[in-house]
């Protein structure tokens, strides 16, 4: 192919692009992924990201289990998922190529560090021969081989850093090159490098900037790549934006919710992937009056949170599956004593330790039923990184308004994924007004608000309201009661209270027509993929709508009615059919389940295939 045609094809405009950076855990792929994301966000694209870590802290260098990847989809239209398959793959070593090449779209761009394809690393990746020499690869993809090691060392030859440290900069060379490919500005990244490294390691900061630019210029001057692209700004609502990951947004929502409810926040957690960052992020928010504690285990974590709620703060805790198993008994106590409490479960793949760094949404039935006896509590789920913010606030509202523990389900996919987030106006977040009992007024522990059936809390330190609570069944005055009729009464009251939450839920939004052939019902982190698939089929004229549930217990009151307006119902879940079970039982409808249990989110194309199959039935 002559260089002429290369040039003319340059700067093709695209609506959306998916880029994946993959390399060894030590190669800094998360860092460049984050940088690419930030510059896309500030440039004005819509985007979604998905980091994919290895399970090991540092798996042996160069091996398949040690590969770390970061994927971003960005575009000039609304972006709902990080993308099914990369249009461009950066593979820093043979192991990364081995793991990720199968995902690259046909004809996609493959950027490799030629220098990393040594005999030893090929063997470690399990390649019998150098795949770059396989003609199939160059036929199927736009391969760009770059000797990163050589180029980086060249670029830094005047620097005093040692060779190892110089080579560490090569991720920024690759990033610079990709910036050139996608016509991205370098400023945001240069700014980042400066603010992070200039002070402690000025030489390193300079080197990284040098290399970043070198990568960019390398694209410009060598014309190695056949295509160059351009993705214009997305049309998004005007406003101030920032980037948030799911766990960040949960934290922001939690602090905001507590502030709007005028309660101090105590968060108590025990480290576990992928929930640890909630505790870590909150610990960095002490200047907002947030108290955090790393407990000795998950039982302690929830016990501390419950104690804090009992004493008038808002107690919250968070964990993942194995930790949830340890919280059941305390959730029962919170249910029985009717105290507010927030429990985040950032789901990961199980059972047992399972695949701790992979996503799944298989803890729904546990959230609903994971404690002894009839002890229903509200369960809500976040559906995207940004949505975590609202979900947290909704949890605070429900917990306080209905004097109840609330389980919030998120998952690894949305917890670590990131999106641009339009920062809300703090004044517009509704206040949550749930006063304590009044000193001097008559107080009865289980007197219920006639509307919500919630009890009013009196807290230690309030004069004249002294009382005792506990897990033994109580009469309305909180005296221990073995009276059979009282037990039935209290049990039904507790359940009815939870049911009443449905009265406070806004009408369910249907994506598409409110009637038709097929309704897709989803919950949690599958929102982006389902919505994207559904919208694309709608555009093609199919009679498909979708709705996504935030409230899983109680279900929205209008759900049954909506479902009746469709011939078929499809429930895609990253589990063996947990929401299906619930909906079937409640509505006696023959729901079609679509289940994927691979530790991976749905791909849009998987959903498209399934939806079309169901429509054809």
């Amino acid at each position: 192919m002559e260089s002429e045609s290369v040039k003319t094809r340059a700067l093709k405009e695209l609506q959306t692009v998916v880029v994946r950076f993959a390399g060894d855990s030590g190669d800094g792929m998360q860092t460049v992924g984050e940088r690419f994301t930030e510059s896309a966000a500030i440039f004005g694209n819509d985007l979604a990201t998905f980091p994919d870590f290895p399970a090991e802290i540092r798996a042996p260098r160069g091996t398949v289990p040690g590969v770390s990847a970061f994927q971003i989809q960005f575009g000039s239209t609304e972006i709902l998922t990080p993308g099914d398959a990369p249009d461009a793959l950066v593979a820093m070593n043979p192991a990364a190529l081995k793991v990720h090449l199968p995902d690259l779209v046909d004809g996609g761009m493959l950027v490799v560090n030629k220098a990393a394809f040594t005999k030893g690393s090929l063997r470690m990746a399990g390649y019998p021969a150098n795949p770059l020499q396989d003609p199939q690869i160059s036929e199927n993809y736009e391969v760009v081989e770059i000797d990163l090691n050589f180029l980086v060392l060249e670029a830094l030859k005047d620097f005093s850093l040692n060779q190892k440290n110089k080579l560490r900069c090569k991720n920024f060379f690759a990033l610079g090159f990709m910036y050139w490919i996608y016509s991205r500005p370098l400023e945001t990244t240069i700014e980042f490098i400066r603010s992070k490294w200039e002070r402690p390691y000025p030489e390193l900061a300079k080197a990284n900037i040098k290399v970043l630019k070198a990568g960019y210029y390398f694209g410009e001057t060598t014309e190695t790549a056949r295509n160059r692209y351009m993705v214009t700004k997305a049309e998004v609502e005007a406003g101030v934006y920032r980037k948030v990951s799911g766990n960040e947004a949960l934290v922001l929502g939690l602090i905001a919710g507590a502030a709007k409810a005028n309660r101090d926040l105590v968060y108590s957690g025990y480290p576990i992937t992928p929930a640890s960052s909630i505790l870590e992020t909150l610990a960095a928010h002490k200047h907002f009056g947030v108290k955090t504690i790393q407990a000795e285990d998950e039982m302690a974590a929830i016990g501390i949170a419950l104690g804090a709620s009992y004493a008038g703060n808002l107690g919250a805790t968070g964990t993942s599956g194995p930790g949830m198993c340890l919280k059941g008994e305390f959730i029962g106590l919170a249910t029985s004593t009717e105290l507010p409490l927030i429990i985040f479960n950032i789901q990961r793949a199980g059972p047992s330790t399972g695949l701790p760094t992979k996503t799944e949404q298989s803890d729904l039935t546990q959230a609903l039923f994971g404690r002894h006896s009839d002890a229903p509590i509200p369960v809500i789920a976040a559906n995207s990184p940004c949505d975590c913010f609202e979900t947290s606030i909704e949890a605070v509202r429900i917990a306080l308004t209905y004097s109840t523990p609330v389980i919030v389900l998120s998952d690894l996919y949305i917890a670590s994924g990131a999106e641009p987030w339009k920062v809300p106006d703090p004044a517009r977040i509704p206040t949550i007004e749930v006063p304590f009992a009044q000193e001097g007024e008559p107080f009865q522990v289980y007197r219920r608000n006639p509307e919500t059936l919630a009890r009013t809390q009196a807290i230690p330190g309030q004069q004249g309201l002294e009382h005792r609570i506990g897990g033994l069944e109580k009469d309305p005055f909180s005296n221990v009661s073995y009276d059979p009729a009282n037990h039935e009464h209290m049990t039904r009251m507790r359940s009815e209270k939870i049911e009443r939450i449905a009265d406070s839920i806004p009408p369910t939004k249907v994506n598409g027509e409110p009637y038709g052939e097929l309704l897709i019902i989803g919950w949690g982190g599958t929102f982006g993929a389902i919505t994207a698939a559904c919208s694309s089929l709608q555009a093609e004229g199919f009679s498909v709508s979708s709705l996504h549930l935030r409230h899983l217990n109680p279900l929205p009151g209008d759900l049954g009615e909506i479902m009746e307006n469709f011939d078929k119902i499809l429930v895609p879940e990253l589990n063996q059919g947990q929401l299906s079970l619930l909906l079937r039982s409640k509505f006696l409808l023959d729901i079609v389940s679509y289940n994927k249990i691979q530790g991976q989110p749905f791909k849009v194309r998987e959903l498209l295939r399934k939806i079309q199959e169901v429509l054809r039935r």
Binding site: V240, D264, A295, D297, G307, G470, L472
Partner: protein, 343 residues
């Protein structure tokens, strides 16, 4: 703790009695402990509503229902966690935790351990009756080897935990022991616990009339108490005994010697002076190892050392962070964070 205000009414025992019927077995040692605590609270100069009594599950853990303050009967073994949460939320409260040998040292050992090492400002009363009372008399982690119960019909084979040594293993800052038959001593120890900044841990020898009657009689029974207990007082020589006055002498690194006083003064005999403030755990380990029948059992404050309390420090970090931020962050600061852009 806020000092009592001038307008505050004078409280007395009655103020801490609930109308609820007390449901322990007649003759249970728990009654005496209840009584002692109800007599202690009015003397602490704290408004009634600032007391919180928190417990796990067990006969002993029914305690909060009988104290007319704020009370929380939680779940088995986990009361230290709830109490910790209460103190985090409101460090001004006077929090008392009631637990049993099963609740605290069986299922709840880990939480007790961590509460102790955290040194959070709580008062822990461990009712040691060496049995699982509420579940009808199975052996407990403090039952001596050979204890026959329904679950150990041929005698238990696991070595009992020494509750004092256990607390020492967590480097607890205040460790005391008292007995359910001596109200005066209980009250004194409860007050000392209250005064201590940080965690206070009190083992109380408690009699279960139904499943383990007279378990402590060889130590504190009318016949034995003078010869088998050693009442510790800071700065006082360790002398005890009625039939024969004896003193405790400790020279080397082993167990102490028990010397007949024969009318001599403690100085003359080189009798040990009790010093609960020794920071290393060696001395307290020696006290913990003084067990019946070879030694008189020490009661009183065995150890009291100064370390910063967890709840105080968490407040300090909060204030420091807020000061560093130039005031408490508002919602705008929170939501905007550090990196934003405008579209």
């Amino acid at each position: 703790m806020a000092p009592p205000t001038l307008t505050q009414e004078i409280l007395n025992k009655k103020d801490f009695v609930t109308p609820n019927d007390v449901r322990w077995c007649p003759g249970c040692g728990d009654y005496a402990i209840l009584n002692a605590l109800q007599r202690t609270f009015p003397e602490l100069g704290i408004p009634k509503e600032n007391f919180v009594v928190i417990s796990g599950i067990g006969c002993s853990s029914r305690f909060p229902y009988y104290m007319n303050t704020y009370g929380f009967h939680t779940i088995h073994g986990r009361a230290p966690t709830v109490a910790t949460g209460v103190k985090l939320a409101n460090p001004d409260l006077s929090v008392w935790l009631v637990t049993g040998d099963g609740d605290g040292l069986g299922i709840g050992g880990n939480h007790l351990l961590h509460a102790l090492r955290r040194n959070i400002n709580l008062n822990i009363l461990l009712f040691n009756n060496r049995t699982y009372g509420l579940t009808k008399g199975q052996y407990s982690p403090t039952s001596p080897v050979g204890t026959k119960t329904k679950t150990t019909p041929m005698g238990s084979i696991d070595n009992p935990l020494n509750p004092i040594l256990f607390a020492l293993g967590a480097d607890a800052t205040f460790i005391a022991r008292t007995i359910d038959t001596n109200p005066k001593h209980m009250i004194e120890i409860f007050k000392a616990a209250h005064r201590h900044q940080g965690i206070s841990y009190i083992e109380i020898f408690q009699n279960c009339v139904i499943f383990n009657n007279k378990t402590w009689d060889s130590v504190y029974g009318r016949q034995s108490r003078d010869d088998h207990m050693l009442f510790l007082e800071a700065g006082k020589p360790m002398v005890y005994g009625k039939t024969e006055r004896r003193g405790v002498a400790w020279t080397g690194g082993g167990m102490p010697e028990l010397l007949p006083m024969n009318g001599a003064t403690p100085e003359e005999k080189g009798i040990l002076i009790h010093d609960p403030t020794r920071t290393d755990s060696i001395y307290a380990a020696m006290l913990a190892e003084m067990q019946y029948p070879d030694f008189p059992v020490p009661v009183g404050v065995l150890r009291q050392v100064v370390k910063p309390a967890y709840d105080t420090q968490i407040q300090q970090q909060l204030h420091a962070a807020i000061a560093r931020n130039g005031g408490k962050g508002d919602l705008r600061q929170l939501l905007y964070g550090r990196n934003t852009w405008r579209v």
